[in-house]
């Protein structure tokens, strides 16, 4: 058997023999290909990669990856993935989920995996709709959105996944349009490098039930003007002309034009993804003009596995028990003759 450690993979090594069954034109294809391209760049062995998904269109993903995988039950993938990672911390574990799977039925597991900071990666396919059940509103659908289950318009206030995640102490949050595979691939690679729970929200178009839901930000013609792609350590500049930027005015972010009112590049905010205080990250997540994409937060912190491992090591070092026999015959035992 060849040693996979030195093997150079290509995207084909990660494509399973199963026919991909998403609807034509779905952004899910883009995400799948971005992942298959990202994995060979990560330096992980194929046999160490595990994809865990819940239920929904996105959750068919593991079937198309030639890695270990589990298509589980609705909303529970983060909990299953936590078990996988605690059982074997050497694995590269990925959770594939959607806005219904993670924000509605699986909301509890979603916030707790973030709080615990398990070293795994979550790709959240957000299309603001239930696709597999054919078109009901989801927890990220907009107020007023007309769907099969809201014919007169959605009356429920939506979640913003990024805000929810930061509230749940997410250490890594990235956001990316579903039609920008190059940047997506890069973010996937970065998320694997990051030690801790990485959450990547993909703004994924559903051509059947919610077509154009992100077009105002992601359409090729407008996206440079409507999106600010942040990079750690770089000034927050955007626009086709690269002449717009963000400054902090009081407690609010403000869009300024370089060259107007004496504004120069030096006046702009410089992105610090690694800052522990999430206040600025929250503001960036909430902003709608421009919509902020890229890695918004990447704060290094101790992971659950590291804490557990350290504790186990310490307990082992201070314990007289190595075999169960030592325990069973310890303490108050007595002889019957």
């Amino acid at each position: 058997m060849e040693t996979t450690a030195e093997k150079k993979y290509t995207f084909k090594d990660f494509s399973s023999d199963q026919e991909v069954r998403w609807c034509p034109g779905c952004d899910d294809y883009v995400i799948l290909r971005a992942m298959q391209k990202a994995l060979p760049e990560m330096g992980v062995k194929k046999e160490d990669v595990v994809f865990i998904s819940g239920i929904g269109c996105s959750s068919r993903f593991p079937y198309y990856m030639d890695t270990y995988g589990m298509h589980s039950i609705h909303g529970r993938a983060p909990a299953i993935a936590t078990g996988v990672k605690l059982a074997n911390p050497n694995l590269s574990v990925w959770v594939i989920t959607g806005d219904g799977d993670s924000m509605a039925i699986g909301g509890n597991h979603f916030i707790h995996v973030l709080r615990r900071n398990v070293n795994l990666n979550i790709i959240l396919f957000n299309n603001e709709i239930y696709g597999l059940t054919k078109g009901q509103f989801s927890p990220t659908s907009l107020v007023g959105q007309k769907t099969k289950s809201s014919p007169y318009g959605n009356t429920q206030q939506p979640f913003s996944p990024g805000e929810l995640a930061l509230g749940a102490q997410a250490r890594f949050f990235g956001r990316i349009g579903g039609n920008t595979p190059k940047e997506m691939t890069k973010i996937f690679i970065e998320s694997e490098k990051f030690k801790g729970t990485s959450l990547i929200e993909v703004l994924q178009n559903c051509p059947i039930f919610n077509d154009g839901c992100f077009t105002e930000y992601t359409d090729k013609a407008v996206r440079e003007d409507k999106q600010l792609f942040v990079e750690h350590g770089k000034p927050m500049v955007f626009g086709k002309e690269r002449n717009k930027g963000l400054i902090l005015n009081g407690l609010k972010l403000e869009v300024v034009t370089l060259g107007e009112n004496g504004m120069t590049q030096e006046d702009l905010l410089v992105h610090n993804a690694e800052e522990e205080d999430p206040t600025m990250h929250q503001m960036l997540v909430r902003l709608r003009y421009p919509l902020v994409t890229g890695i918004i937060r990447s704060f290094h912190d101790v992971t659950l596995e590291e804490r557990k491992e350290a504790q186990t090591k310490e307990v082992k070092a201070n314990s007289n028990f190595t075999k169960t026999r030592d325990l069973f015959f310890s303490g108050d035992i007595y002889e019957v003759e």
Partner: protein, 620 residues
């Protein structure tokens, strides 16, 4: 201060067994008092069985009837299989305890009360119109009145650093000291216990020791309580023993199975009464590499365990009835992906929140059928506190060897009860095989099966060349890929069922005790072994020799020879702590028999006399 209404006895009475019940407020330390007495007795060589009975409220209003906490211990020089029902000695720390437990005391037997607690206020709370110590209502009993609270205060007045609350709380040790003297037990074990427990608080050790000894000497010095009872050591199989609680035994059974199988143990669990003690026990054992996750809910408890199993651990989840309901969908997933997983259900009174601190056997049908679709799993049930060890081990063995989830049923009664356990080591336990595939082979498929057990093989992430996907959608019979082919679904449904029924080839036959054939077969399952066994034993000793007893630990599948033992008796009665769930299982599986039923649904174990009365009536 003290008054013995039945007068003095001077000779030492030799008894085979005695049942003592300590009752008081839920803050009075009755559980600790009972545990200390039973541990000390076990070390003396007695066989014991214990039964804690406490309210769901952590600190119910003081003195109230529903806040009464009790601990019963049955000690003997003969084999003891239940905590017993009629009490020889009741220690009542307040009127509410007396009121709620008096019915259990055998007429003519002894009641010790703390007279200081019989204030007007407490009598009112216990809904007594007159003081039972004064109105003659206890004339049929031997009442020993002791002003325990005042005596405790007096004993502790010279120890510095104690507040009034700590002083009053140690009066349970006064009671324990008295009972130690009455039953000729040494206080050493309990004093050692204080030294360990309060290592950093020497004044607390001193205070508790002082009160314990004061109670002991009080009983001795006044000579008003004759040293009437001694119970010789029981004849038990030679060996090294310890006292073990059912939940601890369950936890240890899994530790042993992990060591024997060479796998690491993973527990995913959410706290729930009365199962939490298994979690508490297992988290202590990081030295054995135990990995535990206290999850965000019951569902994450089981699903994290499924993840750990997928990654190659021996994975378990622990819960009680309502938690099993929440785990149902995930258990179906484990079943269809054919992964090893043990679910421990420490049954309690249901439905819904039901009676969290009381016992019941009412989750049998939920265990069998509480999932969508046809999804059989192996179900086994432990029957005594000590054999929780064996059945936890067996659950792990079956799940690893047959690649299917196993539900292990115990219940609040055996989980919280304790008994002597002849210590087993891993060397004494049977081998555990597994279905792990370590390397890639030509034409390998995730759903290739062992021809004997039908267990599929277990390829663990990290193994090169065996990358594969599993999931909750119906699987192709060989590759495990998604399949919507109608015939494949029927085939897979049948093979999953067949896999469970083949477990029959790997479990012991059912046997009958006391009689191999005859007039009446008493059938029980799970945690009622102690009550049923001693009741059948008793009627046999009384001359009813045609009554046999069969106890089931394997519920799904049932032992292969079940029908053959049913045929040997004229009548069959199925006794269980529910409305007849196991009786229904037998009816479904074995036609041509009439299954009589004896059911109790009071959150309590069977009483001895209700059983013996019924059995005798049936063979009249």
């Amino acid at each position: 201060m003290i008054d013995s209404k039945v007068g003095q006895k001077s000779e030492v009475e030799i008894l085979e067994a005695v049942i003592i019940r300590f009752v008081g407020d839920s803050g009075d330390g009755m559980q600790l008092t009972g545990t200390q007495f039973s541990d000390t007795s076990a070390m003396f060589g007695n066989d014991i069985a214990t039964f804690p009975n406490y309210p769901a409220e952590i600190r119910a209003p003081q003195g109230s009837l529903y806040g009464v906490s009790g601990f019963q211990v049955h000690i003997g020089s003969v084999e003891i299989s239940t905590p017993g029902d009629e009490v020889d000695l009741l220690v009542a720390m307040n009127p509410a305890g007396l009121k709620t437990n008096l019915h259990a005391v055998k007429p003519g037997h002894t009641i010790i009360v703390d007279t200081d607690a019989f204030s007007r206020k407490n009598l009112e709370k216990a809904q007594y119109e007159a003081n039972p110590l004064e109105d003659g209502s206890l004339d049929n009993y031997r009442v020993i009145e002791v002003s325990m609270t005042s005596l405790t205060k007096e004993a502790l007045k010279e120890i510095a650093g104690l507040d009034n609350k700590s002083i009053v709380r140690s009066k349970n040790m006064f009671a324990l000291g008295m009972v130690y003297w009455m039953y000729d037990r040494s206080t050493d074990h309990t004093i050692e216990f204080f030294k360990k427990k309060f290592k950093s608080k020497p004044h607390i050790i001193e205070a508790n020791t002082k009160v314990l000894n004061t109670g002991y000497y009080f009983a001795e010095t006044l000579e008003l309580i004759p040293n009437a009872y001694t119970i010789s050591p029981a004849k038990m199989e030679p060996g090294t023993y310890r006292i073990i609680m059912g939940n601890t035994a369950t936890a240890w059974g899994f530790l042993a199975a992990a060591e024997k199988s060479g796998l690491e143990l993973f527990l995913g669990s959410y706290p729930i009464t009365p199962a939490s003690d298994i979690l508490h026990e297992l988290v202590k054992h990081k030295h054995f590499g135990v990995k535990a996750l206290q999850a965000e809910d019951e569902i994450a408890g089981i699903t994290s365990a499924i993840g750990a199993s997928f990654a190659g651990d021996l994975a378990i989840t622990t819960t009680s009835g309502p938690g099993l309901a929440l785990k149902g969908e995930a258990l179906g997933l484990a079943m269809i992906i054919e992964m090893p997983l043990v679910v421990v259900n420490v049954q309690r009174g249901g439905p819904s929140t039901g009676l969290p601190t009381k016992t019941e056997q009412s989750d049998l049908m939920q265990s069998l059928y509480g999932r969508n679709g046809e999804s059989p799993v192996i179900i086994i049930a432990a029957s005594t506190p000590a054999n929780c060890f064996d059945f936890a081990y067996e659950a792990a063995k079956l799940t690893l060897e047959h690649m299917t989830p196993v539900i292990l049923l115990t219940d609040g009664y055996i989980a919280n009860g304790s008994a002597p356990w002849k210590i087993k080591s891993v060397d004494d336990m049977p081998e555990i095989k597994n279905n792990i595939v370590n390397e890639a082979k030509e034409n390998w498929h995730a759903y290739d099966r062992n021809q004997d057990t039908l267990a599929r093989n277990w390829a663990i992430p990290g193994t090169p060349g065996l990358e594969h996907r599993v999931g909750g959608l119906e699987k192709d019979r060989i590759s495990g890929n998604v399949s919507y082919i109608p015939e494949n679904h029927e085939y897979m449904t049948k093979i999953r069922a067949e896999k469970i029924s083949r477990v029959q080839n790997y479990i012991p036959d059912i046997t009958t005790e006391f009689a191999e054939s005859g007039d009446l077969l008493v059938i029980g399952w799970g945690g009622t072994y102690g009550s049923l066994h001693s009741a059948v034993k008793q009627v046999n000793e009384e001359g009813y020799e045609n009554i046999g007893y069969a106890h089931f630990n394997y519920i799904n599948p049932l032992p292969k020879n079940t029908a053959s033992i049913l045929k040997k008796f004229k009548k069959i009665i199925v006794c269980e702590l529910n409305s007849g769930q196991f009786a229904n299982v037998l009816k479904i599986n074995f036609s041509g028999f009439e299954f009589l039923q004896f059911n109790k649904i009071q959150g309590l174990p069977f009483g001895n006399s209700e059983l013996t009365g019924k059995f005798k009536q049936l063979v009249k």
